[in-house]
Amino acid sequence: MIVKGIMKRNKKGQIGESIQDLVGLVIIAILLILFFVISNAAWGISGQETKDVSTQQYLHDQEHKALEAFMQKQVAVQEQELTMAELIRLSQIDQTYKSVLENEVKNAFDDIYTYNFLIISAKDMANAKGSSYYIAAKEPIIVNLEIKTIK
């Protein structure tokens, strides 16, 4: 149809104008495509990026929730109920409770995650990965859980 139209206009000696229109349309189309491609590259959000952000956030939420639940869990020590946060404080006062704590950590997380559970000092906090909770003590105890994968 376009060729037929051009041929028709050719007869009227308007081929120059038709070519000009055609070239103009092509330039507009190219500009539009370029505009969207460049804009998307500059400001657009790709699906891959969004997916990565969500996964990281999900893992971070898991770390936080798992650690919070763990800290509030009750455990029997010296014939009385303590929270896990208190057991952690006790393990800092009395080294004999470290093994009790280690067992509790294993029972809580081993089946579900590959993880790092650490008790760190305040100065190491800045480099810590994962989620942290603080336990009141003479010097605050910082507990850190980093979930690497969910089993």
Partner: protein, 263 residues
């Protein structure tokens, strides 16, 4: 030439239309992107704020327990009497309790609250995140068994720079907390009650040590009594262990709290 001029005007019109169209599209595109960016960024920021709040409240809860245990220990250590009272005799490191020197609930409550306040605020001042080192005011509620702690709103701010945009995020929460002494099985009436019971029992048992020991049994305290000189020494220990800082040894302990006195 005439046709060429028309074509030129048409092309110019097209270019102007294109510029207008592209500018509008660009504005719409970037505005949408900015809104999307805010939405995407807001979720992790909000989550971080919520997490910070959870972390803070868990610390406060543990601090309240620790502060209450510490206050309880300090009260019991001085036989629950006002340590500034000069009418109290001391026998072999035991305060000799009498009508002029005995535990009184109202004074115990006042001193407990002072010590709790001091201990709680000390712990909060050690909170690892400086911006959350606030100060609490504490008071007993009408039951006398729960301590209400109030403080100003905590405001968390953060900022994010993005292309052509600067986002300011702000979140505030109320750090108020209440702590029931029943959680730790602490009953402040115990000191006055135990003293009165000791005086009555001594008289009822006609100063017989085993009789006194038998009648002094308690749900919360282990009681030992012995005679020394003209006095009966009452050595009580909580059945439950508490976390406290031993003021004489300056060390942290998890142990029963002692309440010793002589009559």
């Amino acid at each position: 030439m005439n046709n060429n001029r028309k074509a030129g005007i048409f092309a110019l019109g097209m270019i102007i239309a294109m510029i207008l169209f592209m500018t509008t599209a660009w504005l719409a595109f970037t505005t949408t992107n900015k809104n999307l960016d805010v939405s995407f960024n807001l979720a992790p920021y909000l989550t971080n704020y919520y997490n910070e709040q959870d972390r803070f409240f868990l610390y406060i809860d543990e601090s309240a327990k620790l502060a209450a245990s510490q206050a309880f220990y300090e009260i019991a250590k001085d036989a629950a009497i006002d340590e500034n009272k000069d009418s109290c005799l001391v026998y072999n490191n035991y305060f000799v309790l009498s009508q002029g020197c005995k535990p009184e609930l109202s004074s115990i409550k006042t001193r407990f609250l002072e010590k709790y306040n001091q201990s709680l605020n000390n712990l909060i001042q050690k909170y690892p995140s400086e911006k959350l080192r606030i100060s609490y005011g504490n008071e007993f509620d009408e039951t006398g068994m729960t301590i209400r702690s109030g403080a100003d709103l905590i405001k968390l701010d953060s900022q994010k720079k993005a292309s052509f945009a600067l986002y300011n995020f702000s979140y505030s929460f109320n750090p108020s907390n209440s702590f029931s002494l029943a959680k730790l099985n602490i009953v402040l009436d115990d000191f006055e009650t135990i003293y009165n019971k000791a005086v009555n029992t001594k008289s009822v048992c006609n100063q017989d040590v085993s009789c006194i020991k038998e009648k002094m049994t308690s749900d919360r305290w282990q009681v030992d009594v012995e005679k020394s000189g003209q006095y009966f020494l009452f050595k009580l220990k909580t059945k439950k262990s508490f976390f406290y800082q031993d003021t004489t040894e300056s060390s942290e302990k998890f142990a029963p709290i002692s309440f010793n006195f002589a009559i």
